[in-house]
């Protein structure tokens, strides 16, 4: 399959992730959109790894996965802590720093 297929698919996935981060007010869905963006980057890593016949791209997918797992653990803990403090997780309600 030509590389442009994978590049186009990855770009579309990344744009959908950006749309989700910008539009949704549920922080859990925002995190899922972030995962979608990680996923599109991973797809490009694997596609170029196969294209150039170099295995290093696939290694980077592993590092992205572990970092994403750490990020999800910390992010979900933050959401739970915010929910305990404010009794809501609506992102638009988190305006304590607004002057």
């Amino acid at each position: 399959m030509p590389m442009s297929y994978f590049i186009g698919l990855s770009v579309v996935m990344f744009a959908m992730g950006i749309l989700g981060v910008l539009l949704r007010r549920n922080p859990l869905v925002v995190f899922m959109s972030l995962e979608l963006m990680f996923n599109s980057a991973n797809l490009l890593f694997v596609a170029f790894s196969a294209y150039h016949q170099v295995l290093d791209g696939q290694l980077f997918v592993f590092f992205v996965m572990t970092t994403a797992a750490a990020e999800v653990a910390v992010g979900l803990a933050l959401i739970v802590a915010i929910f305990k403090a404010k009794r809501t997780i609506d992102l638009d309600q988190m305006s304590s720093l607004k002057g």
């Binding site: 399959m1 990344f14 539009l23 290093d56 590092f63 653990a73």
Partner: protein, 184 residues
């Protein structure tokens, strides 16, 4: 390329796009999570087609398995399936869509002007990405990043436990009955 192969790739791309749209449009966060699982599994199929079966299996077990279970668990723990529909910030939706479309156009333009490789790469051999070769590369050339990710995971685990712990009562020996008496 045979017609069946083109059809398969088109169907996979269609499923990826539809599940992504479902993720960002579904009102219920549980449905969004399930759409994301579908997306991950479809991308894992693309990984297999690209000659990376080990990555595909890691994707299914780590992403579609454990991370999404964590998401669903937190959604159900907080009861955060649905938020009120009312939009407090005016113009946010229009601006967000505009920015996302601008990004998409920019990237498409970049890829076209930059001249993406349109030819297909030669098919990878089955020995290209066996777990053995990946493990050799991981523990030889990428040993330091590997150890660093271990540190990141440990720090994240400790941080998650620290942030969600219950505040410890100041005097462990204080009896609840005495406290109630004092309050009265």
């Amino acid at each position: 390329m045979s017609l069946g192969l083109i059809f398969m790739y088109a169907a996979l791309a269609l499923v990826v796009v539809i599940s992504g749209v479902g993720l960002i449009t579904s009102r219920n966060a549980i449905y969004a999570a399930l759409f994301l699982v579908l997306n991950f599994i479809t991308v894992a199929l693309l990984y297999i087609a690209l000659g990376a079966p080990f990555i595909a299996l890691a994707q299914v077990t780590v992403y579609a398995g454990s991370i999404m279970v964590l998401f669903l668990f937190v959604i159900m723990l907080l009861g955060a399936e649905q938020l009120p529909i009312a939009e407090p910030l005016r113009g946010q939706r229009v601006l967000g869509i505009l920015l996302a479309v601008a990004f998409l156009a920019e990237m498409m333009l970049f890829v076209m002007l930059r001249g993406a490789p349109t030819i297909a790469g030669q098919a990878v051999s089955p020995e290209f990405s066996t777990p053995a070769t990946i493990g050799m590369l991981l523990f030889e050339r990428y040993l330091l990043p590997f150890e660093m990710t271990a540190g990141i995971l440990l720090a994240a685990t400790v941080g998650a436990v620290f942030m969600t712990r219950q505040p410890r009562p100041e005097h462990k020996s204080a009896l609840p009955a005495v406290r109630e008496e004092g309050q009265e």
